[in-house]
Subunit: 430 residues, 2 copies
């Protein structure tokens, strides 16, 4: 299997999208190698991971062609950087919503020609992908929709707008009634911006459909995450991570079906006692900042050290799917109200106070049967970094093993992180 | 003069305020030395700087006793960290508003026992002053009022609240009508919080009085800054900086009078051709992040290299006093509306977009007769750091010499900064 897997290339398509083809051509072979080493080398994977492997193989080709076809058919294609942008409204308009967050070291040098060095690697990576013309998704979108969840993103969108039309929605910083009202207005503006691309105003039924579709996707991920919590786990943390990453660029109806298919297999594995690691393998919950594709650094280190990641409390993780939208609305205002309410439940560290998140991490810790928490912080992410103070205290008060890691995409600190993670796992083993 | 100047001590007062007296006792002698070396060593200072020197001498004693007396008389004492907190409403309630931003390296180690290391030194310094009990102002306030202008501050207030009652007002991130409305609600909440301390609701006349008092202070600083723009300058950049720092803790009516007294002297100096540096001295505008007391690092380096700082486009600078509140309101709602409008003009980099600030820097560059811009960025201040990209471009387009500096409070990089600043000055001299 490992030798058959190849991340596909299509220079003609890339050329058409205005990419730097010469430079980008090196990317698929690199990704092929990395994916083989990190994912396909795993023992005893569920068979139905094959679909998700295939999604990775087609990440720069097949999926892009699907999006181009939709676009040619007049459908809006919106790029986003945050789980706060309501994809339900894009789907309602018949469009495609793509999570653009950058997870690769390779585009950071492009960004640093313009941006300061000491900001978040995810922001730099995303910006660099566009500036360097080395991301087909960035090339295919009608516009990108940024938000104000952190200082670095907020100010970077002003510069990104020079390369691709960039709208910005204001995420409030508190969760009081006046904040919800502000946020609801932003949601309405977003709907107008999406509808403007199609030229049609999406109606109640279309929005209801969009909500149902994305609710179903989130529910499927909830089911998958619950199954994964079984001890011994029927699926690895790395495979869970890649599925959660694919959730941001795959077609949602198909993705939902494929997640359920995998869940069916995992249920059988649980019944049959088939696991990816022995019950004795230390179980780690990872909390904190998102891991955008192809950021698999921490999971590789943790699972390479013989432990298992059993939960991601992250935007590319439970924060994306833990809440559904109430589907019982009777008019559009109520729909948008309930959509707003659901999004206000996201416990991003951009809020103050945000103690609900601490409770949520502890809840997921219990639910996942984890034995320790590694809080993952992208370098210079001040909000998660400072919030980790409270999370550490909460863990210490409950005797939960806790370790905070701050890192970027560079391989430079891998050795050091391995040492720290191994020591942490030894501590858990007791 | 230099030998007479001493920053005074009052261990009994400090003990009463619950300070760490043993540790704090070292502070006044250190400050005495620094002030003598940096300020009193200057040649040909205006005589009426004597008042401001005296304010520094009394920073830990006389002024604290005044504030204690006011507090004993039932007046509210509010600590703030941002020019966004409307001091007019504190003054209206008969109270005292103190700018608490920390500008010293000495308290950072205290903060780093709790906070991450790689956040803004100003936030760490302020937090450390409270945690270490080494700031009399932090000890004397009824409460502090934080805001959400940056990620690091926003999340640090959650922790600061454990040490001193900390309210937070939400500063919007854009400047549309809905943002102004949100901000106006925050202003109203602030008024309620201040009035709650006195037990009396301040009325229209009191608010009008507060607005007049602070308008007068800002107008005096405008007059001073205009006089300073004269070439050759009748006052140094370092002296201007200390006055602008004192503006945040002095009694406003007295301060306003003393600024005007100094202006009268400066007018005479301008007429008589008395200057602090020859007309040939390169003139530098400093833009960017605030310099809280006793942060005199960059000004010392610039003026030590033979140039003159002729303008601070900064919160401790023009951003604090460039705008006044329209005094022609006929009822309180109108007062708060106009107050809100004035505050929304502050061009903090927390806003997106914030292109007005670029225009403002260029305007001040012209007005001050500057010959180059040094953009000063506190380390890890992402918003100003990224906004510097646009400022650099604007300067390059106009042929304005521009240099961006990112630094903290540590003396470690002084040598390197000296070299860079000297090279920049040579470039200006041509």
């Amino acid at each position: 299997m490992s030798d058959e897997f190849v991340v596909k290339s299509d220079p003609e398509l890339w050329e058409k999208l205005g990419m730097d083809v010469a430079r980008f051509s090196g990317m698929p072979p690199m990704l092929t190698n990395a994916y083989r080493n990190i994912f396909l080398s795993q023992q005893n994977r569920p068979e139905r991971m094959a679909y998700f492997d295939d999604m990775v193989a087609n990440i720069h080709t097949g999926r892009i062609r699907e999006i181009c076809d939709a676009k040619d058919g007049g459908k809006p294609v919106i790029g986003t950087f945050c789980v706060y942008v309501p994809e339900e409204l894009v789907v309602a308009a018949g469009g495609i919503c793509i999570g653009l967050c950058g997870g690769a070291q390779g585009s950071i040098a492009d960004a640093e020609k313009i941006l300061p060095r000491n900001i978040c690697p995810m922001v730099k990576s995303a910006f660099g992908f566009k500036v360097g013309k080395i991301c087909p998704y960035f090339q295919v979108v009608d516009l990108v929709y940024g938000e104000t969840t952190c200082d670095a993103k907020k100010k970077t969108w002003e510069l990104l707008d020079r390369y691709v039309p960039t709208h910005v929605m204001e995420i409030p910083q508190m969760k009081r009634e006046r904040d919800k009202q502000l946020w609801k207005e932003e949601v309405k503006d977003f709907k107008v911006a999406v509808d403007r691309i199609t030229g049609n105003e999406t109606d109640f039924e279309a929005v209801a459909d969009g909500i149902r579709t994305i609710n179903a996707k989130r529910a499927a991920l909830q089911r998958l995450n619950s199954l994964r919590h079984h001890n011994p786990s029927p699926i690895s943390g790395k495979d869970m991570l890649i599925i959660q990453q694919i959730a941001f660029y795959d077609e949602p109806v198909r993705f939902t079906q494929k997640v359920h298919d995998l869940c069916d297999e995992l249920e059988k594995r649980v019944q049959a006692g088939i696991a990816v690691a022995p019950k004795s393998a230390p179980r780690i919950l990872v909390s904190g900042t998102p891991m955008a594709l192809p950021n698999w650094k921490l999971h590789s280190i943790i699972e390479g050290a013989g432990a298992l990641v059993v939960n991601e409390e992250s935007c590319i993780g439970t924060r994306y799917y833990k809440d559904l939208i109430d589907e019982g609305s009777s008019d559009m205002d109520q729909q948008l109200e309930r959509l707003t309410e659901r999004y206000m439940k996201i416990d991003c560290s951009c809020f103050t106070p945000n103690d609900d998140r601490i409770e949520q991490v502890l809840k997921e810790y219990e639910a996942s049967g984890a034995e320790g928490i590694i809080d993952y912080c992208l370098q210079f992410c001040h909000t998660y970094n400072i919030e980790a103070v409270k999370l550490r205290e909460a863990c210490e008060a409950r005797g939960i093993p806790f370790m905070a890691i701050e890192t970027d995409y560079s391989p430079d600190d891998v050795g050091q992180l391995q040492t720290r993670v191994e020591a942490f796992i030894e501590q858990i083993k007791g």
